[in-house]
Symmetry: C2
Subunit: 216 residues, 2 copies
């Protein structure tokens, strides 16, 4: 069934969105849905939905459509929501705390097991149910708990050095919020750079264009 032979990133980036919409449908107790109906909800083409889903296997049935619950489960499995990757967060400033509190790691295949900050005044303070540790403790912690994913909410100046050190300590993936383009040369390491500032800037651009259109 799973013909999982290198899927394009365009497809992968759409999967979480399918997963969310199917979750909503499941909540609304919708049992089945056709690619056409789903395409109207999600504002994309039915063809694209069928193409995307077919990268992983034939989850649908002619004349019927897709069974919402099982399709959602399949996509979840593909994404890895059933996994339990131990995850640490470095940098418990405004953003770090907010990420720790606001993101539901558990429903996304991750488990937040440690929070670290270089500021000793934060040591011992708890975020959610997790106590902030000093960054000096990272090495020992990694040797014991073997976290796989690191969330970086630290100043850009430190990011590369800390990331390199974390790779040595066994971290495989970085979710990087620092204002820095993290790249790791080792292969077998994944990096997701977020760059909220860039996101806002593209909105500024489009907002600015709106004004220009009006002028014409």
């Amino acid at each position: 069934m799973a013909k999982n032979g290198n899927i394009s990133t365009s497809v992968i980036k759409r999967l979480p969105r399918y997963y969310r919409f199917l979750g909503e449908l499941e909540k609304q107790e919708v049992e089945r849905i056709s690619s056409r109906e789903l395409s109207e909800m999600m504002k994309l083409t039915a063809s694209q939905i069928r193409q995307d889903l077919n990268c992983f296997g034939g989850f649908g049935q002619q004349g019927y459509g897709y069974h919402v619950a099982s399709l959602r489960e399949e996509i979840g499995r593909i994404l890895g929501v059933d996994k339990d990757f131990p995850t640490i967060l470095i940098g418990a400033g405004n953003l770090g705390k907010a990420i720790a509190m606001h993101i539901n790691f558990g429903t996304r295949g991750c488990r937040l097991v440690g929070i670290f900050d270089a500021n000793p005044r934060l040591t011992g303070e708890t975020v959610g149910s997790i106590a902030i540790r000093h960054t000096d403790e990272i090495e020992e912690f990694c040797n014991e708990e073997h976290p796989v994913i690191a969330v970086l909410c630290i100043p850009k100046a430190n990011t590369q050095a800390i990331a390199d050190k974390l790779v040595e300590l066994g971290i495989k993936s970085f979710w990087n919020f620092s204002h820095y383009d993290l790249t790791i040369d080792h292969k077998g390491i994944e990096v997701e750079n977020v760059h909220l500032g860039d996101s806002l800037l593209t909105l500024t651009y489009r907002t600015n264009q709106l004004g220009k259109v009006e002028e014409e």
Copy 2:
């Protein structure tokens, strides 16, 4: 010079990254740079850089390259960093506060002028230098201050209704962090949906794939 006739979103999404790298180069007092050098830094092709920049005009010079400071200024102008769009933020929970504190709106063509929350216990509390107002005051505030951009850090259940209301009050652009795909049917309205959860899920997927590669 500016041959600004509908630029593809692929290009637009790369502009903030160019802008950042050029900023770093300027800080390091690098005066000029060639597309080849920049391509090595940014890990993309020189051809793409030249192609991208040429959407807006010939900023470079043969045999010399690009003048860092003026190229950065040009890209900044294209993005609209010199603008001053009044911006409000709705929802002063963990994430809302962190965004308000962490994002430098001023360097991105925006000015944060108001923060609102439905919880009356937060009213009067300040975030940075801005006092939190109750959401009941939004209408009056918009009529007086005419904000253009709204940052939404609210629960998904309220998002569409609040956004629709804000459109009536003159908001043109939404930077939406709520776990909901905001769409506005009016044209002349821009939406940037962030979806941090989706970003993490794609990392979970890739982390999971790493494990599978090892097994082979």
